[in-house]
C-alpha cells in the first residue's frame, strides 16, 4: 500500500518492487506455472489439510456430551494448565533474552560473533529427545548440577523446572531469528536521532527501537509460543510421565492413545490444534505488518 505514489514527487513504486513484478512475469511459461501451482496445492492439501480435517472429524464425532466430559476430567484440566504455564514462562524468558541477544548480534562487533550467531540456531538442529537427554545428564542423578539442587531440596528432574528448561532451550532461536534481521534493516539512525533530541538510551529503546521491531518481535513470540505448546520429545524424557503431575497436553494425548482412549485424545488434540491455528493467524498478521511501514 505504501508503494503507490500519493502526490507528485512523492514516494513511488520502488525499483525493487518493479523488478520483482517484472521477474514474476518473465520467470516461466504458463504451463510450467500451472503444473507447479497444482503440485503445490496438492502437497499442502494432502499433507496439511487432510490430517487437520481428520482430527476435526474424529473429535467432533464424539458429540457434545463426550467433549464436555473430557474437559471436566481433572487430568485434562491439569494438562492444559501445565502446558499453559510452561508456555508462559518460556515466552517471557525467550522474549527478554531474545531481544538482548538480538540487539548484541545486530549492533555489536566482537570476536566469535559468527559462532554465537550459529549457536543460536543449534536448538533447531538438535532432536528434542537429545535435548531431553542433555537435561538428564545435567540435572539427573549423578548430573553436574544435581548435588547443588539436591542439597537445597529443589527438585529439577521429573518436575516443572526441568520441563520449563528444556522448552526454553528449544524455543531460544525464534525471537532472535526474527528480530535480528529487522534490527539490521532498521539501522541505527533513528536511535541516534532520538539521542540527539535528548532521549536517554532507555527512552530510545522503548519509544523507538521497540516500536520499530514490534511486529517482528510478536512474530518471534508467536512462533516461540507455538513451539512451546507443541513440544513433546524433550518434555517426555524429563517429565517422568507422572499422570496428573508432570503431564502436559501433548503428553496426555500420547497416554490417551496408549490406553485406547482415542476419543479424549482427539478432543485434546483438536483443542491444541485450534490454539495453534489462532497463533498462526496472529503470526501471519504480524509477519505482514512487519514488512509494511518500514519504508
Amino acid at each position: 500500500m505504501s508503494a503507490i505514489a500519493r502526490e507528485p514527487g512523492g514516494p513511488s513504486m520502488s525499483e525493487e518492487d518493479i523488478t520483482r513484478l517484472r521477474d514474476r512475469d518473465a520467470r516461466r511459461g504458463r504451463v510450467v506455472r500451472g503444473v507447479m501451482l497444482g503440485v503445490s496445492l496438492l502437497y499442502v492439501g494432502v499433507l496439511l489439510l487432510a490430517p487437520l480435517a481428520g482430527i476435526v472429524l474424529y473429535a467432533l464425532r464424539a458429540g457434545i456430551g463426550t467433549i464436555s466430559s473430557t474437559f471436566q476430567l481433572s487430568d485434562v484440566q491439569h494438562a492444559f494448565t501445565l502446558t499453559f504455564e510452561i508456555m508462559l514462562v518460556t515466552v517471557v524468558v525467550t522474549t527478554f533474552f531474545g531481544v538482548v541477544v538480538a540487539l548484541v548480534l545486530a549492533r555489536d562487533e566482537f570476536p566469535g560473533k559468527s559462532l554465537v550467531s550459529a549457536l543460536v540456531n543449534l536448538p533447531l538442529a538438535i532432536s528434542p529427545v537429545v535435548v531431553g537427554l542433555m537435561a538428564v545428564l545435567l540435572f539427573g542423578r549423578g548430573g553436574w548440577f544435581e548435588p547443588f539442587f539436591a542439597a537445597r531440596g529443589i527438585r529439577i528432574m521429573f518436575a516443572l523446572p526441568s520441563m520449563i528448561i528444556v522448552t526454553i532451550f528449544i524455543s531460544i532461536p525464534f525471537v532472535i531469528r526474527e528480530v535480528v534481521p529487522v534490527l539490521e534493516e532498521l539501522g541505527m539512525e533513528e536511535e541516534q536521532a532520538a539521542w540527539t533530541l535528548g532521549a536517554s538510551r532507555l527512552q530510545t529503546f522503548f519509544r523507538i527501537t521497540l516500536r520499530n521491531i514490534r511486529w517482528g518481535l510478536l512474530y518471534g513470540i508467536a512462533l516461540s509460543a507455538a513451539r512451546a505448546i507443541g513440544e513433546v520429545g524433550a518434555v517426555l524424557i524429563v517429565s517422568g510421565l507422572l499422570q496428573g503431575q508432570t503431564e502436559t497436553a501433548t503428553l496426555y494425548i500420547l497416554r490417551a492413545f496408549d490406553q485406547y482412549q482415542d476419543q479424549q485424545g482427539y478432543i485434546v488434540a483438536l483443542t491444541l490444534a485450534a490454539f495453534s491455528i489462532v497463533l498462526l493467524i496472529g503470526i501471519e498478521t504480524f509477519k505482514r505488518r512487519r514488512t509494511s511501514r518500514t519504508a
Binding site: G9, P11, E190, T196, A199, N212
Partner: protein, 361 residues
C-alpha cells in the same frame, strides 16, 4: 540559542585508518560553516564527533563556550539532521517534531505551540498528521529540520542534508535553507561534498582532504585564493597546466604564467586556471589554441581548446566574445589569475570537467 563551535586537534582513527587527523577550526556564532570535502575526507566523522555520536581519540570540542569533549550526546543539545532524514517511521510529522520536547518533559501546551510554530516555519503545517512514508524526500528533510530545531539547540549540525535528493529539489531546498537561516540565525555546521552547496550557503568553508584541514576561509577566499593544489582542484573547476618554475613564472613551452614568485626555481609546477579566467584575446594574445569543441550553455559557451603544446583547456566564454569563431578555428587567449603550486601531486591528475554551477543555469 547562539553559540560558536570550537574544534582543537580533533583526531579519530578506525583501526589503522586515520579518519580525522588533527582538525582544528572555529564555526562562528550565528554563521553557517561548511565542512567541504570528497567522500572519505573525514568530514562526516568530524561532525558526528561534535554531535557526540562518535568519541574522538584526542582533541577538544567546545560548544558555546563549554567543553563538551566528554559529555554524552544527550547533554550536548545539538540539533542533528541526517542525510537519510532518520524520521521516526511510526510517528506522524507532528509527533516527530514533538519528540525532543516530549523526552525533555516540556509542558503540553508549550509543546503544541512550539510544534505548530516549527511546522509553519518549514511549511509543513498541512501535513502534520501524515506519516514519513507519505511524504516526498524534500518534505521529509524539512520535517527532520523542524524536529532538530524544536528543542532550541545551541547549534545545528547537518550531515549531507540534501545528499539523497534529486538535483531540482536539492537546489530549491538549499535556497530555502539559506532563507531559513537568515530568519533564525542558529550557528550551523554543514557537511557536504558539493562545492556549489558550500559556496552558496556558507559564510565560512573548511575544506577537508584525507582527514586533514586543507584551508579555512570565506567562500571567496577559498575560491579565489586556494591555499593548496587540492583546494584549487576541488573547489570550483580548474584547468591544470604543468610546467617549470623559471624566474618567478611557470614556463609552459611557448608561453609563461606569472604568480610563481614563492616557488623554488627550476622545480616542476602546476598552474590552475578557472574556465572563466580563459579570455578570448586579440591577435596579440600569448596563447594560441585551436577550438576543438563548442557547447552552448545559453549566453555562455564552453570551449574545449587544444594548445600548441598539446594540452587541453576548458574555457567558459560569453558568446559575444567569440565573434563567430567555431570548431576548427584558431584563436588567441589570455589566461587570467593562474594559481601556481609546486610538484604535480596525485590530485593534479583530476582533469577539469564542466563546472556544475555554470551548467545548471
Amino acid at each position: 540559542m547562539a553559540g560558536s563551535i570550537e574544534i582543537q586537534g580533533l583526531t579519530k582513527s578506525f583501526g589503522s585508518f586515520r579518519a580525522v587527523d588533527d582538525v582544528s577550526f572555529v564555526a562562528e556564532d550565528g554563521k553557517v560553516t561548511a565542512l567541504l570535502g570528497p567522500s572519505g575526507s573525514g568530514k562526516s566523522t568530524a561532525l558526528r564527533m561534535i554531535a557526540g555520536l562518535e568519541r574522538p581519540d584526542s582533541g577538544r570540542i567546545t560548544i558555546a563556550g563549554e567543553d563538551q569533549t566528554q559529555t554524552s550526546v544527550q547533554e550536548r543539545r545539538v540539533g542533528f539532521v541526517f542525510q537519510h532524514y532518520a524520521l521516526f517511521r511510526h510517528m506522524t510529522v507532528h509527533q516527530n517534531v514533538e519528540f525532543g520536547l516530549r523526552v525533555r518533559k516540556e509542558d503540553k501546551d508549550d509543546r503544541r505551540a512550539r510544534v505548530l510554530e516549527l511546522l509553519e516555519l518549514v511549511h509543513m503545517a498541512p501535513f502534520a498528521e501524515r506519516y514519513p512514508d507519505q511524504l516526498s524526500g524534500g518534505q521529509r528533510q524539512r520535517v527532520a529540520l523542524a524536529r532538530a530545531l524544536a528543542p532550541r539547540p545551541k547549534v545545528l549540525l547537518l550531515d549531507e542534508p540534501f545528499g539523497a535528493l534529486d538535483a531540482k529539489v536539492r537546489r530549491d531546498l538549499r535556497q530555502w535553507l539559506d532563507e531559513l537561516h537568515r530568519e533564525i540565525g542558529v550557528t550551523s555546521l554543514l557537511v557536504t561534498h558539493d562545492q556549489e552547496e558550500a559556496l552558496e550557503l556558507a559564510n565560512q568553508i573548511v575544506v577537508m582532504h584525507e582527514g586533514k584541514v586543507e584551508q579555512v576561509g570565506s567562500p571567496s577566499e577559498v575560491y579565489d585564493h586556494p591555499a593548496t593544489p587540492f583546494v584549487a582542484g576541488f573547489v570550483g573547476s580548474s584547468n591544470v597546466l604543468r610546467g617549470q618554475v623559471v624566474g618567478g613564472e611557470v614556463h609552459l613551452g611557448s608561453f609563461a604564467l606569472p604568480g610563481a614568485d614563492h616557488l623554488e626555481e627550476g622545480k616542476p609546477a602546476a598552474a590552475f586556471i578557472r574556465p572563466h579566467d580563459v579570455r578570448v584575446a586579440g591577435e596579440d594574445g600569448d596563447v594560441k589554441a585551436v577550438i576543438e569543441r563548442v557547447a552552448s550553455l545559453g549566453w555562455l559557451s564552453r570551449l574545449t581548446l587544444r594548445l600548441e603544446s598539446g594540452e587541453v583547456l576548458v574555457a567558459h566564454v560569453p558568446n559575444e566574445d567569440l565573434h563567430g569563431a567555431t570548431e576548427g578555428d584558431r584563436i588567441a587567449v589570455d589566461l587570467r589569475n593562474p594559481k601556481a603550486f609546486l610538484a604535480p601531486e596525485h590530485e593534479l591528475e583530476r582533469e577539469t570537467e564542466a563546472s556544475p554551477d555554470v551548467a545548471a543555469r
